[in-house]
């Protein structure tokens, strides 16, 4: 009996620790996302070369989407394998389609 309560207590501690960890990660990603946004805006405001700015903004945007999915929408958690497969499936099909247009059909 005593052992039982002990393990429950342990589990509670473990969850608490995990929650704390998660909170920390969320704050960090949130800060990073704000920084990214500021970088994007300043680059445009500074009037840098378009060829330089556009790819960087696109990369920053992709990173932000990944942050959003994994840290705020909990895609890394258990039970999200199937949505992940569907999303990556859809993304790869769309990517292949666009690639086909760019390199095969309209080059």
């Amino acid at each position: 009996m005593a052992e039982n309560t002990n393990s429950v207590q342990n589990e509670l501690d473990y969850h608490k620790k995990k929650k704390k960890e998660e909170m920390k990660q969320q704050v960090i990603t949130f800060a990073l996302m704000i920084v990214f946004t500021i970088i994007a805006f300043t680059m445009v405001a500074a009037g840098l070369d378009k060829l330089f700015v556009i790819p960087i903004i696109v990369v920053l945007a992709i990173v932000q989407v990944i942050f959003q999915l994994y840290y705020f929408m909990h895609m890394s958690h258990k039970g999200h394998e199937l949505p992940a497969i569907m999303m990556y499936g859809g993304i790869s099909v769309a990517f292949l389609t666009i690639l086909t247009f760019l390199v095969l059909i309209w080059w």
């Binding site: 569907m86 499936g89 859809g90 099909v93 292949l96 086909t100 247009f101 095969l104 059909i105």
Partner: protein, 618 residues
């Protein structure tokens, strides 16, 4: 609640029951009736086409009217007949096969059906309102953007509304199969029909948006003065072809894969053997689904994409023959050494194998880009796709209907009439379409309303038309069969075929709640596993308890009706701006119904366990 409905059995009560139902079994029947209705309309159009082509320079119909029936035949058969008939089987069977009490979103299931039906009715309303669409089922721009009258507008709005319904249905089945499986029903224990439904739903999810976008662009070009496909305004008409076929090629797999699923259920049952190579079948299905997205330009070899694009799309297309071949051999090995019982369902399945293989062979021929310049837009193409769509999908639907009729309606379809249907339809089919390969090779172009005499095309076309009449006879005999079986057929047990999968573990008639207790699945072919261990029923996975069921609702019907009204508004506002009123009224009805649905809590009802023994929900 369901018991009170059962007691009032007047016509009005039954009608109201079906208008408001969210029960997947009843929605399956609704899909079957409306899909069957559109199949008959599409069949009539096919007969008109074949009668027009029975002799050279015939004038049974005018050239313009021929274009309309030809367009409507293709559009109706694909979108309004084949799709809903497949959804009928999915709705009737898939929740039962995975041990669920309903689909994940019963309300959406109903909405998907009514959207499809009202979209189909809108499309067919064009017959009475100045002429049907006449730009081919592919509606290629600029023919479709410049076609006079409102025919093509009906095509756009009708398909947009029914396409939304299809998308909803696809998402619903995806979620259902992911979330509603009974305990123990792992992915690699799913019956193959459920697997194909799963893959097809994913294809719908990814392919239909391309059609939605294409139709929106076409709608703006025709009704609101944009120029996406108009070269004079800087547009590009080839974009429509790309969008249409990015949707269109997966669409043919959306049709054929469930048919593959049906055969993979029928053949093991009547060969008394488990499906040969189950794992290979699953992976072949998934692979066909993936490859299906990377081959769309094989419909556009003659557009002028260049040799590099043509070669790559040719090779990708031929690659699909590999997983399909795996399936064909697996079906043959399933039969090998089996204790085979021949009945109507089995006849359709057995004849499917050689018929579909022929269609597959011509498919590989068409995939050879260089050779396609010869075949393109000839009757060779017509013969090819009828071999795969009729020989695959329609045979599959007939097999599935014969197989699952006792599950859906509690009676076995009459075997004699079933065999008459099969032989007339089967012989008629090959008579109609086999000769068309050669008509095509001799240079007869598709979609022309007449051909000239003494060019070697007369006899072939005559034979083809005779075959079409035989197919019509087969279809009529099937309708008689349905009537005879319904009125005179005898009620059978819940498991008339000595089945292998979960849907046969349910008593006849299927209770409203499907499973009194959720079954525990202990292997592939769940019911068969129990039978081999001497049990007659599934082991329950839960104690007998109250059953939570969704409430019926009229809102899906109202939402769809609103879009139907708005559709007319969109079409006619270009003639008279006051038609915008119909848009506002229709959209108001739809959005109002959505608002009601959102704010009014509907938590469903419970069937109490005390009432279960008294027959509640039967």
């Amino acid at each position: 609640m369901s018991t009170t409905t059962a007691q009032r059995t007047g016509f009005g009560a039954v009608l109201w029951d079906y208008l408001t139902t969210v029960d997947h079994k009843k929605i399956g029947i609704l899909y079957l009736i409306s899909g069957g209705f559109f199949f008959l309309i599409g069949g009539l159009e096919a007969m008109a086409i074949r009668i027009q082509l029975i002799k050279p320079e015939n004038d049974f119909v005018s050239a313009g009217f021929y274009n309309e029936i030809l367009t409507m035949h293709g559009t109706t058969m694909i979108f309004l007949a084949a799709m809903p008939l497949i959804f009928a089987l999915m709705n009737a069977v898939v929740p039962l096969q995975i041990g669920a009490r309903d689909v994940a979103f019963p309300f959406l299931n109903s909405l998907g059906f009514w959207l499809f039906l009202f979209g189909g009715l809108l499309l067919n309303a064009s017959w009475f309102l100045g002429g049907a669409p006449d730009a081919g089922w592919t509606a290629y721009a600029p023919l479709s953007t410049t076609s006079p009258g409102h025919g093509v507008d009906f095509y756009i709005l009708g398909l947009q509304i029914s396409g939304a319904g299809t998308l909803i249905a696809g998402i619903n089945f995806l979620v259902t199969i992911v979330n509603m499986r009974a305990p123990g029903m792992t992915y690699m224990r799913l019956p193959l029909f459920t697997w194909t439904t799963f893959v097809v739903s994913a294809l719908i999810l990814f392919a239909f948006p391309a059609l939605t976008v294409g139709l929106f662009l076409l709608m703006f070009d025709r009704l609101f003065g944009s120029g996406f496909f108009n070269a004079n305004m800087g547009g590009n008409s080839v974009i429509w072809e790309h969008l249409f076929w990015i949707f269109g090629h997966p669409e043919v797999y959306i049709l054929i894969l469930p048919a593959f699923g049906v055969f993979s259920e029928v053949l093991p049952t009547f060969a008394k053997k488990r499906l040969f190579g189950y794992t290979a079948m699953v992976f072949a299905t998934v692979l066909i689904g993936f490859l299906g997205f990377m081959v769309w330009a094989h419909h556009m070899f003659t557009v002028g994409l260049g040799p590099a694009a043509n070669s790559i799309f040719a090779v990708a297309t031929m690659a699909i023959a590999v997983p399909t071949g795996i399936k064909i051999f697996n079906w043959l090995f399933t039969l090998w050494g089996g204790n085979i019982q021949i009945n109507s369902a089995m006849l359709w399945s057995l004849s499917f194998i050689p018929t579909f293989t022929l269609g597959g062979m011509t498919g590989v021929m068409l995939a050879a880009a260089a050779a396609d310049y010869q075949y393109h837009d000839t009757y060779f193409v017509v013969a090819h796709f009828h071999y795969v769509i009729v020989g695959g999908v329609v045979f599959g639907i007939f097999a599935g209907l014969h197989y699952w009729w006792p599950r859906m309606f509690g009676k076995i379809l009459n075997e004699t009439l079933g065999k008459i249907t099969f032989w007339t339809f089967f012989i008629g089919f090959h008579l109609t379409f086999f000769i068309q390969h050669f008509l095509g090779l001799m240079g007869m172009p598709r979609r022309y309303w007449v051909f000239l005499a003494d060019q070697g095309l007369d006899t072939g076309n005559f034979i083809s038309t005779i075959g079409a009449f035989l197919m019509a006879v087969g279809t009529i005999v099937f309708l008689i069969n349905v009537i005879v079986t319904t009125s005179k057929g005898e009620k059978v047990s819940g498991d008339p075929w000595d089945g292998r999968t979960l849907e046969w573990a349910i008593p006849n008639p299927t209770p409203h709640y499907n499973f009194k207790q959720t079954p525990l699945v202990r292997g592939l072919d769940a019911l068969w596993v129990e039978k081999t261990e001497g049990r007659k029923e599934m082991t329950p996975a839960e104690p007998l308890d109250d059953i939570h069921m969704p409430n019926a609702s009229i809102l899906p019907f109202i939402m769809s009706l609103g879009l139907f009204i708005a559709g007319f508004g969109f079409i006619y506002q270009i003639d008279n701006i006051s038609w915008l009123l119909a848009v506002f009224i229709g959209m108001g009805i739809t959005l109002g119904a959505m608002f009601v649905r959102s704010v009014k809590d509907d938590l469903g009802h419970h069937i109490h366990k005390e009432d279960l023994d008294k027959g509640a929900g039967l």
